[in-house]
C-alpha cells in the first residue's frame, strides 16, 4: 500500500446493540464493505470501500446502521478545501481525467430557491383545484401565430403534430447503457400510465420497449447509436441531441465493459466495443445543416412526428435557440449545467455551462422579441427538483420540464455519484444483472407514478393559489414571480421584479 | 347406504373422511376392538417417555365423530363376516348389516415359541395402548428390562423407557439393528448412537430359553431381567378375511383401489397387502402414511368414486434418542453414498429414477423432496442430479418445473 493519501470519506456507524447479524448489509453491498466475522459473531465493515449509497442502511431491519461524513480533517483552509487537495492526490496517482457522475454538487447559486411565487388575495380570487375545473394538460409543438379560417369561415383549429402531455413533466434522456433495462422499463411504464413521455437517450430503443412507443421520444445523438427507420417511427417524437447540460461541448462515453449482448444489439455496435459519441454531429456544422437533419428526420417519418432539438445551456444560448427556432424544429429542449450524467469529466461537469433558470429566461425573452416564440415549444431540464421548480420554470417561459435526477431518486437513487463504477447498488446505473434485478419495474414505475401524481397535485394547488387554471395561462407569466436576494443584473436577466416591488 | 369399518385406527379414519367428502348422508359405523377412542399406535412409546398423554394421543377429536355422524362401537369385536347376507357378527351375538365394508384390522404382535416363557411373570408385547399402560405400571427405577427385537418397535420401546429404569438390553437374531429398514453403515451409526445413550445390544443372538428372571442366549450369555418385552414382529390380522373366503397371503390381498375379490369389501392399512409401486408386486407396507392413503382411497371407492393409490412405497420416519432417520423406497439399483457432515445419506437410482433413500441425522432435512421424486418417478436426467444428491433442493429442478411447483395454483 505504501502511502494512503486518500482517507475514506465516510464512516459506517453500526449500533451493535441493535445489529442482529442478519447479514443483509453483507449480501446487498456491491462494494463488499460489510462482512460477518465468525470468530466474534459480529458484523464488521471496511469504510474504505463505502460510497455512501445507503443500500445497507435502507435494508437493515433494525435500523442499526448510519453513514456519516468522516471527521478526519485537513487544517482549515477556505481556499484549499479538502476535495481540491484530494483531487490533486488522485491525479498525481492516476495521471487521468477525473470522472464524475450525476449533476454538479458545487455550491453555485440555485435560482429556483431565490424566486417566490405569487398568490391571490382579495382581487382575482384563488381557484380551488378540487372543486373547479383546472388542468395541467399541455401540448408541445409549433403554435400558429395568427388565426386562419377555412373556406366556410370557420377557424382552423388543427396544428402540426403536437405532443399531448397530461402533466407538464417528461422524463429526460437517459441512455440504455448508462441506466439499466429495468430502469428503462420503469420509466416507460410510468410514462404510459401518466400520459407523458420518456426519452430513450442515445442508447437506442430496446425491442421490448417498442410497445410503449406512443409514450417514447427517440433520440438521435452524435454517435447515431441504434438509429434506423423503425426506431425513428417507433416513438411519438424525435429528439436531436446537440448537447447535454452536464457536459456541454463533448460527447458521451460508455466503456466496452458495459456493452453486453443486449446493449450491443440495441445500439447496433460490436460486443464490448467502447461506445464513444463524438462531440459534434459530424454532419452538422452550421444551422443550415441542422435544418437539413430536422427535415431528413421529418421525411423519414412522413411529417407525423414533432422534432425536438436538445441543447446544453451555454453562454450564447439565446442566439442558438433563435437559430433552432428558425430551423423547422418543433420543440427546443434546453439542459442546464446542473443536469445529471452517467459519467463525465469532473472539470467539465463542474465548470461548463450556465444555470437553466437564466438560460430559460433569456431564451424566452429573445424569442418573443424576435416574434418567433410560437415557432417552438420550450422544454427545460437540469435539476428540476420539486413541483415548485416546475411552476417557476413554466412561469419563466417553459412549456414543460424534463426531469431525470428526480426520477432516479424516486427509483431509489441516493446520489452517491459513483454511477461510473457499474456497481449501482440500487439497480439503476448498472448493467450487472445481479444488481439490475434489484429494481423491480412494478415497484419502480409505481414510485414514478406516485411522484408525478403528487407533483401534479401540488402544481394545481399553486396554480389555484395564483388564480390560474391552465398551463397556458402560467407560461411566461413573469408577473407571478418575484426575486429574493437577487441583484439587479440577475433580476433583469430573469425578467422579474424583486420581492416587495 | 350403510358403511361399516372393522378396526378403529388410521385407515378407518381416513376412510371416514374420504366417504364424507362424497357422501354426507350414508351411515357410518366403526367397530373397534380396543376400548379406547381412536388413537395413534406409534405414540405409545412417547406416552411412556412422558412426551404425550392419553388425551393428546387421540387421532381425532370427539367433535369429529359428531360432525361426520359416525357411530363408534368401542370395545366390540367383529367375529365373522357373512358375505352373502352382507352382515358382520359382533361379539358372537349381534349382527350388523353393511352395504360397503372396510377391513382395517391392523396387525397383532408375533410371539415366537420361547422355552420357559410361561414361567416369566412379567412379559409384554408392545403394540397397543393397553400393553403400554400395563408395562408402564411395572416400570421401576431398579427394573432391568430385556427387549427381544431390535426392530422399529423394540427400539422405540427402549427409547420410551430408558431413563426410567436401571438398564435396557436388546437382543436380536439379526447381526444389525433395524435390519429390515437400514443398510449396514447406517445401522452401525444407529447402534453406536444408542449404545452411547446407554442401551446394551446382543446382536446375532437369540433367547434359547428363559426362567422367571433370567434369559439364556444362544451364545451362552446369561442376562438377568425383571421385565421382558417381546417385539420380534407383527402379523396382519387376516383371520376374518380368510374365514370369509377372501384371498389372503401374508395380508389381505387388495388392488390399487383397496378392493378385495368381493365388490363390496375393501381392506386397507397394516392388515392389507396391496401393490408396491417400485416392484409392482404386492406387499404389506405397515406404515402410517400408507395406511392413511390406502384407507382414503378405499373410502372414495366405497362411496362410488373411482380412485387408485398407485404410489405406495415403504417409508419410515423415526427418531431414536435424538437421532432422526428417514428411509423411503427400495434399496436396489445403483447406490450413491453422499458424504455428510453430520449424518449419513445413501440414494438408490434405477432406470433414471430415484427408487430409494436412507437418510440419517442432518441428511434427513427436507427429505420429502426425495420422497416426491421417488413417488412421482421423476426422470433424473431432467434435473441437476449432482445438486440433488448434495442437498434436496427445488433448485435442482428445471426452471419451468419450479415455476409450476411454486408459481401456480395449488
Amino acid at each position: 500500500m505504501g502511502i494512503n493519501y486518500l482517507y475514506p470519506p465516510f464512516e459506517i456507524i453500526r449500533n451493535q446493540d441493535r445489529c442482529i447479524a442478519c447479514r443483509v448489509c453483507e449480501r446487498q453491498c456491491a462494494n463488499l464493505v460489510h462482512h460477518y466475522d465468525e470468530e466474534s459473531g459480529r458484523m464488521k465493515a471496511d469504510e474504505s470501500l463505502c460510497v455512501n449509497c445507503h443500500r445497507c442502511v435502507s435494508l437493515c431491519p433494525t435500523r442499526a446502521l448510519k453513514i456519516v461524513k468522516t471527521d478526519h480533517t485537513f487544517k482549515e483552509n477556505a481556499n484549499w478545501k479538502t476535495e481540491v487537495i484530494e483531487d490533486i492526490y488522485r491525479q498525481a496517482q492516476s495521471g487521468g481525467v477525473l470522472l464524475a457522475s450525476m449533476g454538479t454538487p458545487k455550491d453555485y447559486p440555485v435560482y429556483w430557491d431565490k424566486m417566490l411565487i405569487n398568490a391571490s388575495q382579495v382581487t382575482n380570487p384563488s381557484i380551488d383545484p378540487l372543486r373547479e375545473p383546472m388542468e395541467t394538460r399541455t401540448y408541445l409543438g409549433k403554435k400558429s401565430s395568427k388565426i386562419s379560417r377555412d373556406a366556410d369561415g370557420r377557424i382552423i383549429t388543427s396544428t402540426s403534430g403536437q405532443l399531448k402531455l397530461d402533466i407538464p413533466i417528461m422524463f429526460s434522456a437517459m441512455s440504455y447503457g448508462s441506466i439499466s433495462y429495468n430502469a428503462h422499463k420503469s420509466l416507460a411504464m410510468a410514462a404510459s400510465e401518466l400520459g407523458t413521455f420518456y426519452n430513450t437517450g442515445e442508447g437506442g430503443l430496446h425491442k421490448d420497449f417498442y410497445q410503449y412507443g406512443k409514450n417514447t421520444i427517440v433520440q438521435v445523438a452524435s454517435g447515431r447509436f441504434g438509429v434506423h427507420p423503425e426506431y425513428l417511427n417507433a416513438g411519438a417524437a424525435i429528439e436531436i441531441k446537440m448537447g447535454q447540460g452536464a457536459k456541454p461541448g463533448i460527447g458521451g462515453h460508455l466503456p466496452g465493459s458495459k456493452i453486453g449482448e443486449d446493449i450491443s444489439a440495441t445500439r447496433m455496435i460490436p460486443l464490448h466495443a467502447d461506445a464513444i459519441s463524438p462531440a459534434p454531429h459530424h454532419d452538422i456544422y452550421s444551422i443550415e445543416d441542422l435544418r437539413q437533419l430536422v427535415y431528413a428526420l421529418k421525411e423519414a417519418t412522413r411529417y407525423t412526428k414533432p422534432v425536438i432539438v436538445k441543447v446544453a445551456a451555454v453562454h450564447n444560448i439565446s442566439a442558438i435557440a433563435s437559430g433552432i427556432a428558425r430551423s423547422g424544429a418543433d420543440i427546443i429542449a434546453i439542459d442546464g449545467f446542473r443536469g445529471g450524467t452517467g459519467a463525465a469529466p469532473a472539470r467539465i461537469r463542474d465548470n461548463v455551462g450556465i444555470p437553466i433558470e437564466l438560460a430559460l429566461a433569456s431564451v424566452d425573452q429573445r424569442l418573443r422579441q424576435e416574434g418567433i416564440r410560437g415557432n417552438v415549444s420550450l422544454v427545460v431540464g437540469g435539476s428540476i427538483r420539486s413541483s415548485s421548480d416546475v411552476v417557476k420554470a413554466i412561469a419563466l417561459g417553459a412549456d414543460a420540464v424534463y426531469i431525470a435526477t428526480s426520477a432516479l431518486v424516486a427509483l431509489g437513487c441516493h446520489l452517491c455519484r459513483t454511477c461510473h463504477s457499474d456497481k449501482c447498488n440500487w439497480g439503476i446505473a448498472t448493467q450487472n444483472p445481479e444488481l439490475v434485478k434489484r429494481l423491480n419495474p412494478e415497484v419502480g414505475s409505481r414510485r414514478l407514478v406516485n411522484l408525478l401524481t403528487a407533483w401534479d397535485h401540488e402544481i394545481k394547488e399553486m396554480m389555484g393559489g395564483m388564480g390560474i387554471n391552465s398551463i397556458e395561462a402560467l407560461r411566461g407569466n413573469r408577473l407571478m414571480l418575484r426575486g429574493i436576494g437577487l441583484h439587479e443584473t440577475e433580476l433583469k436577466i430573469l425578467g422579474i421584479a424583486h420581492a416587495g416591488q | 347406504m350403510h358403511y361399516v369399518m372393522i378396526g378403529n385406527s388410521i385407515a378407518s379414519t381416513a376412510c371416514i373422511e374420504a366417504i364424507r367428502s362424497i357422501d354426507r348422508k350414508g351411515s357410518i359405523t366403526v367397530i373397534g376392538e380396543e376400548d379406547h377412542p381412536c388413537y395413534s399406535r406409534p405414540l405409545i412409546s412417547y406416552l411412556l417417555q412422558g412426551k404425550t398423554d392419553e388425551n393428546r394421543m387421540k387421532y381425532r377429536t370427539a367433535a369429529f365423530y359428531e360432525e361426520n355422524k359416525v357411530t363408534v362401537l368401542q370395545g366390540t369385536r367383529a367375529t365373522s363376516i357373512d358375505r352373502e347376507g352382507k352382515t358382520v357378527c359382533l361379539d358372537g351375538e349381534t349382527t350388523l348389516s353393511y352395504d360397503k365394508l372396510l377391513l382395517a384390522t391392523g396387525s397383532s404382535p408375533f410371539v415366537p415359541p420361547i422355552k420357559g416363557l410361561g414361567e416369566v411373570k412379567n412379559w409384554f408385547t408392545f403394540l397397543t395402548l393397553d400393553e403400554a399402560k400395563r408395562l408402564q405400571t411395572h416400570l421401576k427405577k431398579e427394573s432391568r428390562v430385556l427387549i427381544l427385537g431390535a426392530g422399529l418397535i423394540g427400539l422405540k420401546c427402549a427409547e420410551g423407557i430408558l431413563d426410567k429404569v436401571q438398564s435396557v438390553s436388546v437382543v436380536d437374531l439379526a447381526p444389525r439393528v433395524l435390519m429390515s429398514v437400514l443398510d449396514e453403515a447406517s445401522s452401525i451409526q444407529v447402534r453406536d448412537h444408542l449404545q452411547e445413550q446407554g442401551l446394551r445390544f446382543y446382536l446375532g443372538d437369540s433367547i434359547q430359553e428363559c426362567t422367571a428372571n433370567e434369559a439364556l442366549l444362544q451364545s451362552g450369555i446369561v442376562i438377568g431381567f425383571d421385565l421382558l418385552v417381546i417385539a420380534v414382529g407383527v402379523k396382519p390380522n387376516i383371520q376374518l378375511a380368510s374365514e370369509a373366503g377372501l384371498a389372503v397371503n401374508r395380508g389381505i390381498l387388495v388392488d390399487q383401489g383397496g378392493r378385495t375379490g368381493d365388490p363390496d369389501i375393501f381392506a386397507a392399512g397394516d392388515c392389507s397387502e396391496g401393490p408396491e409401486m417400485i416392484s409392482g408386486q404386492r406387499a404389506v407396507l405397515a406404515l402410517l402414511p400408507n395406511a392413511y392413503l390406502q384407507g382414503e382411497t378405499a373410502g372414495k371407492n366405497m362411496a362410488g368414486d373411482e380412485a387408485g393409490f398407485d404410489k405406495a412405497v415403504a417409508m419410515n420416519a423415526l427418531s431414536l434418542m435424538g437421532l432422526h432417520l428417514i428411509t423411503v423406497g427400495r434399496y436396489e439399483g445403483e447406490s450413491h453414498v453422499i458424504p455428510c457432515k453430520d449424518g449419513y445419506k445413501r440414494l438408490f437410482v434405477k432406470d433414471n429414477h430415484l427408487v430409494g433413500c436412507i437418510l440419517v441425522g442432518e441428511a434427513s432435512k427436507r427429505a420429502g423432496i426425495y420422497t416426491a421424486m421417488i413417488r412421482n418417478k421423476v426422470e433424473l436426467d431432467s434435473l441437476d442430479f449432482d445438486l440433488i444428491c448434495e442437498e434436496p433442493l427445488l433448485m435442482a429442478f428445471a426452471k419451468n418445473v419450479r415455476q409450476q411447483q411454486l408459481g401456480g395454483p395449488v
Binding site: V24, N440 | L406
Partner: protein
C-alpha cells in the same frame, strides 16, 4: 385462497423474509430482542445457488400429504390453511418425510413448525411479504 408466491426473477437472496418470519413468530414485540444473539429458525427457506435464489414455504396444498402422514393427527387444515397443533407434536419427522416442498422443519423449541400464513401470530398479513424489499414475494389468489 390467497397463498404466498415467490417470483425468482425478483428474489435478491437478501434473506430478509427469513428474519421477518422468525420475528413475526417469536411472540416478542421488539425485533432486536426477538432476534439478537438468538438461533433463527425461519418458516420460509431461501434456496440460493450461484445467481439464482428464491424462497420456499408451505404451499397449503389442497391435498396435504403432511396432514395425512402425521402420526398424531397434529396437523390439520383450518379453512385451507394447514396448521400444526404444537402441543401434540412429538417430532417424529413423518411430515418432513412427506412434504414434497421441504416446507416443515423443527422449531427452536423442538417441535415442528411451518408457515401458517401468519394466521396464528399477531401479524395479520404475512410478514415475509412486508419484509421483501423487491416485491419478489406476493400474497394473492391464483
Amino acid at each position: 385462497m390467497k397463498r404466498i408466491y415467490v417470483n425468482e426473477m425478483w428474489c435478491l437472496g437478501c434473506h430478509l423474509c427469513e428474519y421477518y418470519c422468525a420475528y413475526a413468530n417469536s411472540g416478542v414485540q421488539d425485533m432486536v430482542k426477538a432476534l439478537k444473539d438468538k438461533q433463527i429458525k425461519s418458516r420460509i427457506t431461501v434456496e440460493q445457488r450461484g445467481t439464482i435464489s428464491f424462497a420456499v414455504n408451505c404451499r397449503h396444498c389442497t391435498e396435504p400429504l403432511c396432514v395425512k402422514s402425521c402420526i398424531g393427527g397434529a396437523i390439520t387444515s383450518k379453512d385451507g390453511v394447514i396448521v400444526i397443533d404444537q402441543s401434540r407434536c412429538v417430532l417424529c419427522y413423518s411430515c418432513i418425510m412427506a412434504c414434497p416442498y421441504g416446507a416443515l422443519m423443527p422449531a427452536v423449541e423442538g417441535v415442528m413448525q411451518k408457515c401458517e400464513l401468519c394466521t396464528t401470530n399477531s401479524q395479520g398479513q404475512p410478514a415475509c411479504i412486508q419484509g421483501c424489499p423487491n416485491k419478489a414475494i406476493v400474497f394473492e389468489e391464483r
